[in-house]
């Protein structure tokens, strides 16, 4: 008997009672999305292997003692998944409350705001004296700022700098428990570290803890206004690779450069010239 392609390559499972069929190797999150459900994710990014750390994406899996992380748990034949049980919602809410109580999340974007609101999370319930990761922003050069009071320790920058994208290994998680933090060796300043200023860590940071210097300064001055910004797609002219660049402009000035995450060559990554070349031209970034 020969197996049909379908038998080899797809898995059938249930999400909230609805049957879904997805390719083998898919995660529970993939199955949920196929069923038209979106779940919050913070440490998981589309271009990276799941770090599996934040636990904001947990769901209930029939037969499992604990909840399971949908971003990284592979779907298995016949799994029965529930996303909206009281238990799953409770954990998602608490995770957001805990995160919001420890880190400044006000530059994390609208999506997180709406997740927090939808979950009914109240980060302030742990009181004004709750320990936080508040820290002076590290401003060590003109290119980007590390504002770790906004860090949720999602591991994405470390993975982007290391095994996933950049292979530079300039930064790491150091320390343990609540003291764990992103650091260079002995916390040396970035210019003294192995950092090559590719900015690929900035591209994956979900909370604005890593941010271009121009954007940081404008936000501090309260002049950053995304509603007044436009995006122009170009191809980087520095070398022959041909990375796509998105130039973000506000009032006729370049305020940021990103690369589309869905670009099949760059996956959102750039090098120092592409990402920061414009700020050499003029620190004000005139177009």
């Amino acid at each position: 008997m020969t197996m049909t392609e379908r038998e080899i390559s797809t898995i059938t499972a249930q999400v909230n009672g609805e049957v879904v069929e997805v390719p083998d190797g898919s995660t529970i999150l993939d199955a949920c999305r196929q069923a038209g459900l979106d779940l919050p994710t913070l440490c998981y990014g589309p271009t990276m292997t799941a770090a599996n750390a934040c636990r904001v994406c947990v769901v209930e899996l029939e037969g499992s003692r604990t909840l399971v992380p949908s971003c990284s748990r592979k779907l298995e034949e016949g799994m029965d998944i529930r996303t909206g049980t009281e238990r799953a919602e409770h954990s998602r809410r608490l995770v957001m409350e805990l995160l919001g109580s420890a880190s400044e999340l006000d530059r994390s974007g609208d999506q997180l705001d709406s997740w927090i609101e939808d979950a009914g999370a109240e980060p302030s319930r742990f009181g004004p004296k709750a320990a936080t990761v508040a820290a002076q922003p590290k401003i060590e050069d003109d290119l980007y700022v590390r504002d770790y009071g906004r860090c949720i320790l999602c591991y994405r920058c470390v993975d982007a700098c290391g095994v996933e994208h950049q292979n530079t290994f300039a930064i790491t998680v150091a320390g343990r428990g609540f003291e764990a933090h992103i650091s260079t060796e002995f916390d040396v300043a970035l210019p003294d570290s192995a950092c090559v200023y590719c900015g690929n860590c900035i591209a994956v940071c979900p909370t604005g803890a890593l941010v271009g210097k121009v954007e940081f300064d404008m936000r501090e001055d309260d002049t950053w206004d995304e509603s007044r910004q436009g995006v122009t797609r170009t191809v980087c002219a520095y070398c022959g690779v041909g990375c796509n660049l998105d130039l973000h402009t506000q009032d006729g000035k370049i305020v940021n450069v990103t690369s589309p995450h869905d670009h099949d060559v760059t996956l959102g990554n750039l090098c120092i010239k592409g990402r920061f070349g414009w700020s050499y031209v003029s620190s004000a970034g005139d177009v």
């Binding site: 636990r55 608490l94 805990l98 995160l99 998680v173 609540f178 002995f186």
Partner: protein
């Protein structure tokens, strides 16, 4: 990979320490190094290399880190991340002799605070430490002198805490009569440093028996014996060994988990110190039965005597042809290596332990995949607790039927309990599964000073408090589960009727806060919020009403139990919630 070396150069002492371990290197020129394949495979020497520097000079300096980074081709930032993960590695300025003072659950009841006050005014540098696994003679300390070594002392008092000693502490006294003992029968009776003595007492006959039975026969016997893991999860050993045996080889591993860091637990120390050859014999059989040619014994960093005994025993066994190629002239090879932890409770969790051996931060990972498929170095791995391994020897030696006759149907064989705290005779006790809690307390001489019982903490910090109403509970996996309790690691910590549980609960909460690896949010932040809530309740400064605080604690307990990656976060609220349920004195109410 592109490596930038730190500018600082190692001192001669640091370089010597590392070269002693790794062999001499080409002249170190402070320049960039590029990692070949082989160099990367040396990453697993990272923890031993960090130990070498810490041992020699009392710190991991920039120069030392740079040198190790170059020798092992590991980026300095990553190396720093690993070094700062372990509490026994000091990345600050080097210190002289340091006293690690246990101020954990038991020792804090027996004078730890006084010791800390004494040291405060002394020349010695000191650190408060989680449980040192010497609870039967609390309060305990561990000394570390750069260039000299580690030593334990217990019990100590304000007069003796400053007397730095490196003598081996005698292992604990076994209070029971020889006729009651199987697992403990050699402890204190034969010389643990002599292979001859071990063989003279019947040692290595079990390996001969195992070779007769063949791998399949060994695993079938384990299956039939009903032996379940003693490390906390009660997983049937036969299924685990079969899983490794069935996995494709020969690149697979077996590991003895001697990380024993659960507060109130010291049975594995007794076995490793007092009967090291038995651990080695059991591991050899593990390798034989599963077709693994390499094994590790991971010993916690706070157990210097156990580590030394095991290392020495491995040398002796190798010289006698009982390890290495063609073990015991039978057709299999097996090598065994001791790995020393560096102060991290979480490294007892099996997947964290793998990461630690590999040279990474000891962070657990989500299961599945399970170790028998994907273990250390990504290869199929069997890992068992030390006591489980010694129980496996019993099964093979006396037969599965004989073994299963002891205990209950679901919990077969003998079990070790570590009784500490407010009893007359603290120590390790060996009893058949099914012995009641009250009987164990009686074996330990009852509550100290003839006082009434306050509560018993079963299973250590990750365990559950029970009170006098549980004295008739048989100590088995099934009975404790039914009663909402646990056996956990076999810790039985006794508190008398005068105990104020407030500080005990806060110490337990702090333990989890300090030992969380920090990877997942429920545990990293939840353990901190749990501590904060207990502190507020203790100080009468509640946010809202007491009921609000209890609700917050309950919310935290739920998210930690439901959504944490590993057992640490999943049990971090267990003891505290049980104390609240029992309304122990001083517990939030």
């Amino acid at each position: 990979m592109d490596l930038r070396a730190l500018l600082d150069r190692p001192t001669d002492a640091e370089r010597l320490a590392v070269d002693d371990l790794l062999g001499p290197s080409e002249e170190f020129n402070g320049r960039v190094a590029y990692g070949g394949h082989e160099a990367r495979a040396r990453r697993q020497l990272l923890l031993p290399a960090l130990h070498a520097c810490q041992d020699a000079v009392g710190s991991i300096s920039r120069g030392a880190l740079g040198y190790i980074s170059e020798r092992l081709t590991v980026p300095p930032a990553e190396l720093y991340g690993v070094a700062t993960f372990y509490s026994l590695f000091n990345t600050d300025e080097a210190r002289g002799t340091t006293v690690h003072v246990c101020d954990d659950i038991v020792c804090s009841q027996y004078g730890a605070k006084g010791l800390l006050q004494t040291l405060e005014g002394s020349e010695l540098s000191w650190e408060a430490s989680p449980c040192l696994g010497q609870c039967e003679r609390a309060p305990a300390v561990m000394f570390h002198s750069p260039g000299e070594g580690y030593g334990n002392a217990a019990p100590v008092d304000s007069d003796t805490v400053g007397n730095v000693v490196f003598d081996e502490l005698p292992h604990g006294v076994v209070h029971q009569d020889q006729s009651q003992l199987r697992l403990l029968r050699r402890i204190g009776r034969i010389d643990p440093t002599s292979l001859e003595a071990y063989r003279g007492s019947g040692g290595y006959q079990t390996l001969t028996r195992a070779i007769e039975l063949g791998p399949d026969g060994v695993i079938s016997a384990l299956d039939e014996s009903g032996l379940k893991g003693r490390g906390g999860a009660a997983f049937p050993i036969g299924i685990k060994w079969r899983g490794v045996a069935d996995a494709p080889g020969p690149d697979k591993y077996v590991i003895a988990n001697g990380d024993e860091s659960e507060p109130g637990t010291f049975k594995d120390r007794l076995l490793m110190e007092g009967d090291p050859f038995a651990v080695i014999e059991a591991m050899t059989i593990y390798g034989f039965a599963t077709g693994s040619t390499k094994g590790y014994i991971y010993v916690r960093g706070e157990y210097p005597t156990a580590e030394k005994r095991l290392r020495d025993a491995i040398v002796m066994a190798s010289e006698a042809g009982l390890l290495g190629t063609r073990v015991a002239n039978a057709g299999f090879d097996f090598d065994l290596e001791v790995r020393r932890g560096a102060g991290a409770y979480i490294c007892g969790e099996e997947t964290a332990l793998f990461a630690s051996i590999e040279g990474y931060r000891g962070e657990p990972r989500q299961k599945p995949p399970f170790p028998t498929q994907h273990g250390v170095f990504g290869r199929p791995t069997g890992i068992n607790n030390i006591e489980t391994l010694l129980a496996a020897l019993e099964v093979i030696e006396g037969g599965a039927g004989e073994f299963a006759r002891v205990g209950t149907e679901q919990s077969t064989g003998p079990k070790l309990f570590c009784v500490s705290g407010a009893v007359e005779k603290p120590g390790v006790f060996e009893v058949p599964f099914g012995t009641t809690l009250g009987e164990i307390l009686a074996l330990a001489g009852g509550v100290r000073g003839g006082r009434g019982l306050g509560a018993v903490l079963l299973g250590g910090a990750a365990g559950v408090f029970v009170d006098f109403s549980f004295l008739d509970m048989p100590l088995t996996f099934e009975d404790t589960r039914e009663a909402g309790a646990t056996l956990g690691s076999g810790a039985v910590i006794v508190f008398d009727e005068n105990c104020d549980f407030g500080p005990v609960l806060r110490r337990i909460a702090r333990f989890f806060e300090e030992e969380s690896c920090g990877q997942c949010v429920p545990c990293r932040i939840g353990t901190v919020r749990q501590s904060e809530a207990l502190a507020r309740l203790n100080d009468g400064e509640t946010l809202g009403t007491v009921a609000d605080e209890l609700e917050r604690l309950d919310d935290l307990a739920r998210v930690m139990t439901d959504a944490s990656i590993c057992g640490l976060g999943q049990t971090a609220a267990s003891a505290i919630q049980s104390a609240i349920r029992l309304q122990l004195r001083g517990a939030p109410a």
